[in-house]
Every structure is written in C-alpha cells, then in structure tokens.
Symmetry: C2
Subunit: 544 residues, 2 copies
C-alpha cells in the first residue's frame, strides 16, 4: 500500500493510496485521508494550501498578529502561527462558487471524488455541499461534504476534565485519519483547551470542527449564566484565527422550545444545547447565538469557517425521537441556514441522535425540506438504547440508513459512548465502523466508484488470494490477525480454504473445481440458455 | 438478575430473567434463553417437554431403540437416549395447529412473547410461523419463529476439520444461549460429527438445526459424487432420532440453475449448495433432495423436525445480489414450501447473504410472495464486502433492515466470518450484535414489548443510575468494564457524570439542574403552551 498522487491539473496533486492486487488485476486506488507521512507532530504538517490562498486571496486578505498571543511553554513557537489571515469581506468557498470561480480546493476535492470540478463548484454554490477550508488551516487537504458526493465520517477527539493529555489527543487525531476519518472535531472541555486545539489543527490533514461554547464556558469559570455574546465572540475569533474549519453553533435552542423538553425521558442531551438552555432560562432572554447570528456569520465569512448548526434539542433516547422540541428547532435551523447563506457562509445541519429505524427516513426528508438541502451531518442515529458498550453498532445501523437516504456526513460513535472517554482502540473501532456505514450507503446510492473495491475484494476471496483480501479490506491488520489465529502459517495464505469450513467443505473451492470441468460447463451454458429461452424469471437490480 | 417463572396455565412455567431496577421503578422481566442453570453438561438438561409429548402423543407415537446404537466411549450412556420416539403419521405442531389444538408448546411460546396462545396456534396453522420442537428433543424450551413475533437470532456452532473439540462446542452452545441465541445450528464437518451433535442436543435449551448433507458427505468419504439419497435418508433419520429440530435442506439447487452461477463473481458460496451442484453435474441428474422431497417430508413429519429450505445459490458478494440464480431458486423454494405443508411439515426459508441496502427490502417482498409467507430466515445480509474482520457489523446493518421488513429469524455473523472459526469471544460478539439488530427491528415494527427496556434504560441513564444502566443492557459485563476503565471507584457509580464529558459539561446533569428550578419550569410550561397555541409545528410518529 503505497501513497501515490493523482494529477488534478494546475499543478495540484491529490494523494491516494495504491493497493497492489495479484491475480493479474490492476492496482486499486483508494481515497486517503492519512495526510503526508513521516512528519514530526511537534513541527506540524506542511501548508499545502498556502500558495492557493495567497493567490486567490490577494488583497482580499490581510495578514496580522494573532488576537491571542502564543502561550509561553504550552505550545512551541514553531507550531504557533506568528501571523493569521482575515478576509476583507467574505473569502469563502461559497463566495467563489457563486461567482463561478473554481478554486484549487474545489479542483482537489473533485479529483479525490473522481468527479468534475464544475460539479463541486455547482453543489457548493447551491449550498447543497460545503468545502470546509479555513484560510488559517493551510495544512488541510480539501474535501467536500454533500449528498452528491461520497459519504463522509467525522471522528470526535478531545479531552474532558477527567482524562487524556495533549499528546494523546494528537495521537488520536493521527490515528483517526489513518483509519479514514474525513474530519475531526476537537471537543476538549478540560484544561489546556486552547493549546490542545493548536496542536490538533497544525497536525490535521483534514478539516477540524469545534464547539466554541465549550471554551467560552471555561473562560467564565464554568457557569452557563455567566456567558455573554462578547466572551463567545472573542472565543470564536481566536479559534477562527487558529484555523478551525467549522463551528458547531447551537443557535436553534430558543427560549420557547425549552419547555418542550420538560416532559422528555432524557431532557436535553446536547452539551451545547443544555448550556444555552440554562443561559436562556437564567436570563429569561432569547439565545444570543440566535439573536446575534448575523454578526457571527459576518465573522466566519472572513476566515471561511463553516457553520454546523447544532441540534441542541436532539433526542437522547428512542422515546424522545422525532418529537416537538426536535422539529421545532429544525425549523429555526432552516431560518438560520438562510441567514448564513446571505453572508456567503457555508453551512451544514446537525441531526439526531437516537431514532428507531422506521423514523429515520423522515428525519432526512424534513431536513432537506426545511433547510434548503444544506448538507445533513448526523450522529448515528442509535436505533436502540439497550446496548451501551456496543453503541458503535446500534448507531452504525441508523447511520447507514440515514446516509443512504441523504445524510452527507456521519459523526462516529465509539464503543465507549455513554460510558467514558474513548481510547485509541475505541477510536479505531469507531472510525472503521463508520467507514462501513458510509460505504454501505455509497453502494446503496449507486455511487459509481463505490462498488469497485467490493468487487475486487470478492474476486480475491473467490480466488483464495488471501493477501489481496487482507490488503483490500478496511482494516488489513485485523483481517490478517484473525486469519492467523487458526491458520498462522504462510502456506495457508495461499490455501484454498480457511478454518471456518476446512478444506473439504469450502464452497468456493468446490465451485472452482466445478468450473474446471470445461465440458460440463459447456453443457451448463446450453442448459442455462434453455432455461432462459423458456422465460426463466430474471431480476435486474434497479441501480444497474 | 434472577431467574423467575411466568405462569402460563395448565402447570406450564416459563422462565424469564428479572432485572431489579432502582429509582422506585418496578423490576423488568426479559425473555431468557439461557436454560435451566447449574446443570452438569455431562448429564444434559432435564426433559421439560417429555410429559407434554407423552400426553398429546399417546398412541400416535411409538418408542423404539435408536437406529444407530450409541458409540462406545465417545458419548457416555447417561447422555445417549436409550429409546427414541417416532410418530405413526404426522406429529407436528403444524398438524395440531391446523386441527385447532393449542399444544403446551404453543402456550409456552405465547407466554414468552406476551401474546395469546391462540395467536401462536393461528400463525403456525397458516404457515406464517413455525415452532421447532422435535419430539426427541424434550430438553428444549419452546419458541416461535414468525414475523408477528419477536425477531429471533440463530448462532452457528460446530467444529471443522481444522479446529475445535466437542467440549469447546458444548461450551459455545451454553455461551450462545447465555447471551441470547434463540436457536443454534450445529454445522460440524470434522471428526466426531455424530457425537458432537448428541452432546449439543442434550444440552440445548433452544431448538437445534443442522445441515444433514454435511454428515452424509463425511459418510461417503468426502466426495460429493458418491452421495446418494439412501445415505442422506439414513443420516436424516439418525439426526431426527437425536432430536434435531430443523434441517437445512438445499432442495432448490436444480440442475438447470447451476449454469446461472457460472458468470457470478463468487460462484456458489453455500457449502450445501456447492455439494449438491457438484453431485448434479457429476451425474447429470436432478438434485435428489428435490426429486425425493416428498419422502423427506414424510420422514420429518414423524418427528416434527422442521425444514429450513436452504438458499444454496445465495449471493456471496454484493456483485451477485438479487440476480437470476438466486431468484430462480427462490421460485423452487416456493414450490417445495407447498409440498412441506401438504405433509404437515413446518417450513422456513433461508435468505441471503450479501445484499446492498437498496436491494434488501425486495428480498423480503419476493420471499413472502413466492413462499406463501413462510418465515424468512436470513444470514445478515452483509451490506458491503470490504470489511473482513467486521462482518458482524456489515451484516448487522442488513439484518436490522431485513428483519424490520419482515424476516423472522437472523443467523448471526461473527467477526471471524470469511477468515476462520469463531472462538468464544467471537460467538458472544456475534450474538450480542444480532440481538441489537433483532431488537432494532422489533422497535421499528412497533412490537409492544420492545420499547419497555429501552425506556427503562434511558430513564436510568438520565437519572445517573449507573448500575441500572449496566444491568438493563444486553451485556452488563462490558458496559460496567468500560465505565470502570476511566472511573473505577464505586462512588462513580452514583456520580452525576462520566469521563466522556466530565462533571461540568454533562448535559443530563445540566438538564436536571434546570428541572429543579421549579419556578422557571412553571414559566417554561406557560411558554410552551403559548408556543403550541400559536400553532407550533408538532410531529407525531406514525407508530404511536
């Protein structure tokens, strides 16, 4: 598995992973989010996009010292950006797309997806896709989120007051990207929240999202009632200067919706939602994220930070799915989407949560209708509440379903959900599980590139090319280790059976033997034609 | 978690598991397949159903020495049945149901499901449900498989020539039932195939299925061409005398369908299907399981062994899903279903395999239409081929979907699928994963009993009753262990937070604080009413 580069014109080179395959088959190129290899995390990644930003930015961008000076000791100077960029007016991908400009970012993302750059531009211009790309995060490799494109996966990082260090979080970032996270969110709430983020952004080859209210709350000592728009605004600007690519903003939690949660089994389960609800009630005032949303957008437009409109009133249990509070908030998110678009700010919409299978589809339909088809970014949803310890699975079921119906990005859930902070193994399990859900949806949506890898792996399986089967899989290490458990010898990696059925009962071996009987096969084909001539009932899948 | 017994009239006592819950809530009773506790596997389980069988059997049943005498040494005499039962004509649950008789088995199964016995009788009589209950397996606790009932899960056991001993397989059986398998299939293909099965049946509190062609093939030295109906018939009778409750029979693999698999990416992936295909081609004769199916049914009807019509031509890759061979065979399974019913034999239909999400629903619809609504018993289906090592997850996604649309029983898939023989941990992971898929489907179907446990767990979660949350989960050991990883102290089991968000950012804690502000709440409710009075848009889920 080597890193190769696709040529996307204009000198743009897009990394991909090449998987060598035996059996006379061509190598397979796969989407790769792992970023440039071999870099020292203490120095950060190279600024891939800097020249592009400088070029299209020109005098639209000013360069200036950070609002918040680097912290002595916590972050080495080499990692802090001595200057940050800020647009003189909107500098967003949406701004350019609407004006017919295909940016290098769009070209890069299109090559990754195997589509025309114009499709990316058009979808971004319509608001049906976003390309999160803060001008202060030149290390990121562009990617596009929208339902016409491959389904994306987000992995959450971040320490809480109870565990985890900065080094651990950077390692989790690299680990997440290695296994296929398309974006990461830094949800840190503990100490060193600013420094942790600096480390993450400088090392992130993927877009980074945050929930700024968390840091704002730390600044006022942890009491929601003490929050103010001024503190929030300051936090937002500092994070935008760090290079955060999208912000979750719980601007749809309105004062009048809070009572709708009073009768719910699990009340409010969004951290940001519950913080804002407490602020609203303490002051008996409308949520400042809502009342000042225009100002927020104006700030974001100058950095190209996208908005991810948080679903602060999402259901935290199946009992609360698709009820009044959730859909009332969704209506407001639709209103806020239009405000963001007025400011040329890219926007996506966050979704539930906990939803039984039969109520999944309507969530997508309502989001599309209410929010003008802005990309839907969902957490799961979990399809049952009774399996803590396995919520990566309870939610992968809902995630595959919702992405098939149109959700553009899935926020992963790890096995530790509801129980504790995920460790390295949990992060990997979460990412792989969500890559499965995303890919199952891509297949169901009939994405032309999706099936190639499945078919290559299936042919390898049928031909007993074990090494190919491992290498083509989402997690070659685990596949190989599982095979080794019962058949560790190298010779078994070319054996025409595995320990599941043993040599005599391997159906694939028997089928292969069958096919070797050339004469019989000739007879088979005649028989087959006869069957078909007699009107044998066939089925052609709708997608083909 | 104590074992309790529900009273189902007529002296029938149905085991259940009682989960004690705090917070002033009543205990929760849950379906329990773990069987009588504390029994020595070397002695087998008590014969729960013997008196019932004796009573309804009367002179309809003859008792006689086994066709195959116990093997010296291999199985202790205490475990071998010195006499076996055989009906003088049909002795099946279908036979009784059609005549309006509610058997003790139906009464027992109804109490387990929380439905009226008449519903079980009626569904069995229609052929829309089966109640597998071989009269030579009195140790089994009755359960019903059909789409009007809770979705069931099967776990596969069985050694192959490459691994596993008898003791291991019996331990896997007990382990599977402990975690919630509703039936097990013994798919042994290695040595001691007959003895392994005897041990499994005598210790199985759940119905046991097999694929008799495997043992028949061992008897003829492993060469499919050497098989004959006589060998098969002998095998079938001996297994029916052992007490096997259902037999997978690949009678739909017709000579003329085999050529339809020639162009497939993965040919034939069913072991039984490939064996029969090889036999057909070697002899250029029609599959004897098809031509002699009437005789087979006549035998099965005398023991009440059910038929599970095997899908020998199921797709082994997404590329082969829903294509000609699969649906041609399904048509034949429909024909065979009617033959089984003519003999009063209970029948279910096996289904795929590997199917992309958008082609799942049509599989159920065609099965229902083609096979007269006989219960559909599916393996997964896997919704992508690219994740060996995680196929419990790729398939749980398809399994939840297909069960929601009407599949009655799901055959589990473990993480070792395609790679090797599952060990104890894999079996547990497979069973829990499939319990999740089955439960997600029960919820989506609106099964009245399904939601109770979810709601109880969600309330426990919201109230920070950690021990309740663990105990109400499908796998309390794992949930507790995960929580212990970061917060091992007993005090943390009553803490109002976990390490995921830490104490300050716990949304549930904040919401609880909110609710305590009684005055504010009064204001909330007024606000809420105001919102609703203004025509606030609400959503009522269709199922409620």
């Amino acid at each position: 598995m080597a890193r190769v580069y696709l040529d996307a014109d204009e000198g743009i080179r897009v990394p991909a992973r090449r998987i060598r395959v035996g059996g006379g088959e061509p190598p397979l190129l796969v989407y790769d989010t792992s970023g440039p290899p071999g870099h020292d995390p203490r120095r950060g990644l190279p600024p891939l996009r800097q020249a592009w930003i400088d070029a299209y930015g020109g005098d639209r961008i000013e360069s200036r010292p950070p609002t918040r000076p680097p912290e002595e000791g916590a972050v080495p100077a080499s990692l802090c950006r001595p200057r940050v960029l800020r647009g003189n007016g909107p500098i967003t991908q949406l701004h350019f797309a609407r004006r017919g400009v295909i940016t290098p970012e769009m070209r890069f993302a299109a090559a990754r997806e195997g589509v025309e750059p114009e499709l990316v531009r058009d979808e971004v211009a319509r608001g049906r896709a976003i390309l999160p790309a803060n001008i202060n995060h030149p290390e990121s490799e562009p990617m596009v989120i929208g339902r016409r494109f491959l389904v994306k996966v987000n992995a959450n990082l971040g320490n809480s007051a109870v565990g985890s260090s900065i080094d651990e979080e950077v390692e989790k970032l690299r680990w997440s990207c290695r296994w296929g996270a398309d974006t990461v969110m830094d949800l840190s709430t503990g100490n060193d929240i600013h420094a942790t983020r600096e480390w993450i952004v400088r090392n992130a080859p993927v877009p980074v999202g945050t929930v700024p209210i968390y840091e704002a709350l730390e600044r006022v000592g942890g009491s929601p009632a003490d929050l103010s728009f001024e503190v929030y605004r300051q936090t937002l600007i500092e994070q935008a200067e760090q290079g955060v690519d999208y912000f979750t903003i719980h601007a749809g939690v309105l004062l009048r919706y809070i009572p709708l949660t009073a009768g719910r089994v699990t009340g409010i389960v969004s951290r940001g939602g519950s913080i804002m609800a407490q602020w609203c009630l303490a002051h008996h005032e409308e949520n400042f994220l809502y009342t000042r949303f225009g100002e927020i957008c104006e700030i974001l437009s100058r950095y190209d930070a996208a908005v991810s409109l948080g679903d602060g009133l999402r259901p935290g249990s199946l009992a609360d799915a698709n009820a009044a509070a959730q859909f009332a908030e969704l209506d407001t998110l639709g209103e806020l989407t239009r405000t963001a678009w007025e400011h040329d700010v890219q926007v996506m919409i966050e979704g539930p949560g906990h939803v039984p299978l039969h109520l999944v589809q309507v969530n997508v339909e309502r989001e599309i209708e209410t929010c003008g088809d802005a990309p839907f970014y969902t957490l799961g949803p979990l399809t049952t509440d009774i399996a803590p310890g396995y919520d990566h699975i309870t939610s992968a079921i809902g995630a595959a379903m919702i992405a098939w119906h149109g959700a553009a990005m899935l926020c992963y859930v790890t096995p530790k959900e509801h129980l504790g902070l995920p460790n390295r193994d949990d992060v990997k399990t979460g990412v792989i599980t969500y890559r499965i859900a995303a890919h199952a949806a891509d297949l169901a949506k009939g994405h032309p590139a999706a099936k190639i890898r499945d078919d290559a792996l299936s042919r390898a399986r049928f031909d007993f090319r074990w090494e190919d089967q491992f290498n083509l899989s989402l997690d070659p290490d685990t596949a190989r280790a599982f095979h080794d458990e019962t058949l560790p010898k190298d010779a078994h990696k070319v054996a025409h059976f595995c320990s599941m059925c043993g040599p005599k009962f391997c159906s694939m071996k028997i089928t292969q033997d069958l096919r070797k009987e050339a004469e019989a096969l000739a007879g088979m084909e005649a028989k087959s034609q006869e069957f078909l001539d007699q009107g044998g009932r066939l089925y052609v899948p709708a997608a083909e």
